[in-house]
């Protein structure tokens, strides 16, 4: 069985690749992909921990036993947010592309102070 540290190492590598990508890439689509990479790295961590260190069983007020799937839950949330983000982000990129005929993050600084 693969030890926990294996998942974590993989996750760290993926995350680092994502970070570096976000910082050095000029194409916003690639930047997006890198962000996805980072999010999935985190998801991997969540799932690994949830599998190796599951939350203890608990009892609700009525005394019934409940099982917490907090880690897995968060992964679902992250995936949902990521999807929404991509939708909005791609929309923005499309709008910029229509306006400027090219997309390069180094050209987008209209929010400069």
């Amino acid at each position: 069985m693969v030890p926990l540290s294996g998942y974590l190492t993989l996750s760290a590598i993926l995350f680092t690749i994502g970070v570096i990508g976000v910082i050095i890439k000029r194409n916003p689509i690639v930047v997006f992909m890198c962000i996805e990479l980072m999010l999935n790295a985190v998801n991997l961590t969540f799932l690994a921990f949830a599998r190796y260190h599951p939350a203890p069983l608990a009892h609700d007020l009525a005394g019934r036993t409940e099982v917490y799937l907090a880690g897995q839950m968060y992964v679902v949330f992250v995936m949902a947010v990521a999807a929404a983000e991509v939708a909005v982000g791609l929309g923005i990129i499309m709008a910029i592309f229509r306006l400027r005929k090219k997309v390069d993050v180094d050209d987008m600084n209209i929010l400069r102070g």
């Binding site: 970070v19 976000v22 910082i23 050095i24 930047v31 993050v105 180094d106 987008m108 600084n109 209209i110 929010l111 400069r112 102070g113």
Partner: protein, 679 residues
């Protein structure tokens, strides 16, 4: 019904007249045509004033004969009323006593005559209704002033007459100079009112009341003693050590403003910018004497402070003398009369300051006769001379204006103090009381004040003679030498004509009053003195009686003074070059006197120019400078500066932000690791 309740009609009828003129005046002139409309309006303006006079006579007849109960209070409604630990109750109440009746008679009697005169004087003015609107309103306020039974109601009249004075001085509003004179009058009066108001406050603080007499109280000594007691035994006012001194002084500031005394005299000469009937009614016969009236009405306050009495006497004497000197330098006929009014008012205050309040009031009465006469006469002259007021362009007018000359002749002798005319009696009384005021101010001071008064009497005769000579007596008709006029000004072809009946009738009546008015009230059973008891006569002072010989000597001296003044002026002013015509420069002390010894200019520079500069400075520096620029906009600037400093961090590059975040994350993680390692 109690006939004394008719008192409400005295100001009430002119009030109706005022409303009538204000709301219907213009419409009536428009409807009936100019001549007929003005006739109706003039009648409607004069009638209520004379009706007021008639009612005053009824009131007089119905006044209780018992001298101790001759003060009746009539209350209309509660005007101001605040419940408090020291409740404020100011009813709308009138006091009918000999003093207010005397003043009412002057205001309605002399005022009515001047109204009548004004119907003629203003006949050609297109703002005829507006004039009588203001004129009737003035009568209303003046009557409120003199009839009021409390200080606040008196203050209503006091400021109200000031308002009418303001409106009437600026009546010919197209000339900015008139407007400025009007402003000056109102503002200088307000300075006086400032003192008056503080005086009212102090009176209320001491007495918890502002009424002169409680309703239904006999006017006996006890009421005076009570007031004196309250005033001198400090009623628990830690901040005012000596209310007995401060009350009269503060009230006197108000009197100085209204009666053009001391430093506050300077509005009155400029007030001559108004139409001449205004000068006669407001700035000679009635309003300006309100200060004297107020001092007499409240004489008890003044009597209780020897210092205040001395201040009143000295200010009066000084003003009488000072204004007389200025009168010698004036060429405007109305300005001569204005300074003579200031000087005569000084006389009245001198009388008050030496404890002769009755004599002061007596002079108010006689002065209202002859000064109204002189002003109305001068108005006739001005009208006859195409509104020219410079005496250097007059001369030999006795030939053209016989009635005016003959009536003014008596006014001239009356003000000079020639017996047995009106002015002689009152002036002589004032002078002899001044001489006898040693019991109050010490004999040295009394003699000093007396000599100032006597010298002023000589000077009065002098400058009035100068005026009469320049106007009527000198035989050269100086306007004949003037260049041809452009508009309707005075030119060499001008032929003066005597004025109409509406204007000569008041002149004749006033001349008669100036001739017999003084004697009728003074000789015999001392009519005026007994009549005004107890309003004035009731006093805490015990003046010393002069021995008969001294009294005779004093009378002789004052006659001699008048005659000397007349004779000297008649002889001297034959040869004064500056008075012979235009273009001759005025030299010597009279040049300074013409400029009011520089006082008016200095005041103007200090307060108008200087005050304006100061205000601009305050505005530009404190308001726009410190508060707005430094503090308000400064805070905005500060926030902006901080923003500018932080701007470079907002590069707009997403990657830059990401990198910054990375650094932050690394730093935090590093810190966490470091802590773990150290532990």
């Amino acid at each position: 019904m109690d006939p004394l309740q008719l008192v409400w009609l005295v100001p009430g009828l002119p009030l109706i007249g005022f409303l009538f003129q204000a709301f219907f005046g213009k419409a009536i002139v428009a409807k009936l045509g100019d001549a007929a409309g003005k006739k109706v309006l003039g009648f409607a303006a004069v009638l209520p004033v004379f009706a007021g006079f008639a009612i005053t006579l009824i009131l007089w007849a119905n006044l209780p004969t018992n001298t101790e109960t001759r003060a009746v209070v009539a209350t209309l409604f509660d005007w101001l009323s605040i419940n408090d630990i020291h409740p404020l109750k100011v009813p709308f109440e009138f006091l009918i006593d000999p003093l207010s009746i005397v003043m009412c008679m002057i205001v309605t009697g002399v005022g009515g005559l001047i109204h009548l005169y004004a119907t003629g004087y203003m006949a050609d003015d297109k703002d005829y209704p507006r004039f009588f609107t203001y004129f009737n309103l003035f009568i209303v306020f003046m009557l409120t002033l003199v009839l009021a039974n409390n200080l606040v109601l008196m203050f209503v009249g006091w400021e109200g007459v000031g308002l009418c004075s303001y409106l009437l001085i600026g009546f010919w509003y197209k000339n900015v100079a008139n407007a400025k004179a009007a402003n000056k009058a109102f503002i200088v009066n307000r300075i006086g009112d400032w003192g008056f108001m503080l005086g009212i406050f102090l009176v209320f603080a001491v007495f918890n009341s502002v009424s002169f007499y409680p309703s239904g109280h006999n006017l006996d000594r006890s009421i005076l003693m009570e007031a004196a007691d309250r005033l001198t035994n400090n009623p628990g006012l830690p901040m005012v050590a000596n209310p007995a001194l401060w009350i009269p002084l503060l009230l006197f500031v108000g009197a100085m403003g209204k009666s053009a005394q001391g430093p506050l005299y300077l509005w009155l000469p400029d007030a001559m910018a108004g139409p001449t009937p205004v000068s006669a009614l407001i700035h000679a016969a009635t309003m300006v004497t309100a200060g004297v009236f107020m001092v007499c009405r409240l004489h008890i306050f003044f009597e209780l402070s020897q210092i205040a009495m001395l201040v009143v006497a000295c200010v009066g004497a000084f003003t009488a003398f000072f204004a007389a000197t200025i009168a010698f330098g004036q060429f405007d006929i109305k300005r001569v009369l204005a300074y003579s009014t200031v000087s005569q008012l000084g006389y009245m205050f001198l009388a008050c300051g030496v404890g002769a309040f009755g004599s002061g009031m007596f002079h108010v009465v006689t002065h209202s006769f002859f000064k109204a006469l002189l002003f109305l006469g001068s108005g006739a002259v001005i009208l006859a001379m195409s509104h020219e007021q410079d005496m250097r362009k007059y001369g030999n007018l006795s030939k053209y204006l016989p009635i005016t000359y003959r009536t003014m002749f008596w006014g001239w002798l009356a003000i000079a103090g020639i017996p047995p005319l009106a002015g002689f009696w009152s002036k002589d009384e004032i002078l002899s009381h001044t001489y006898a005021s040693g019991f109050l101010h010490g004999q040295g001071m009394a003699v000093f004040l007396y000599s100032v008064g006597l010298i002023t009497a000589v000077m009065t005769a002098g400058y009035m003679t100068r005026m009469m000579k320049m106007t009527f007596l000198q035989t050269d008709e100086r306007w004949r030498k003037l260049p041809e006029p452009h508009h309707h000004e005075l030119g060499p072809q001008h032929e003066p004509h005597e004025v109409g009946r509406a204007m000569t009738t008041p002149l004749i009546i006033l001349a008669l009053l100036s001739i017999v008015g003084g004697a009728a009230l003074a000789i015999g059973p001392h009519l005026f003195e007994t009549f005004t008891h107890p309003s004035i006569g009731l006093s805490l002072m015990k003046p010393t009686e002069l021995p008969g010989g001294t009294e005779a000597l004093l009378i002789g001296l004052s006659i001699a003074g008048a005659v000397i003044g007349l004779v000297l002026a008649l002889r001297n002013y034959k040869t004064q070059p500056a008075d012979q015509g235009l273009g001759v420069p005025v030299r010597g002390w009279r040049a300074l006197a013409e400029k009011q010894w520089g006082y008016d200019g200095a005041m103007y520079r200090t307060f108008v120019t200087g005050g304006g500069n100061f205000a601009t400075l305050v505005w530009r520096w404190i308001d726009a400078g410190i508060i707005d620029k430094v503090l308000v906009n400064g805070i905005a600037k500060l926030i902006e500066t901080v923003g500018v400093l932080l701007r470079p961090f907002q590069s707009g590059f997403v990657r830059g932000y990401a990198f910054t975040m990375l650094i932050g994350v690394v730093a935090i993680i590093g810190w966490v690791f470091l802590k773990a390692v150290v532990r």
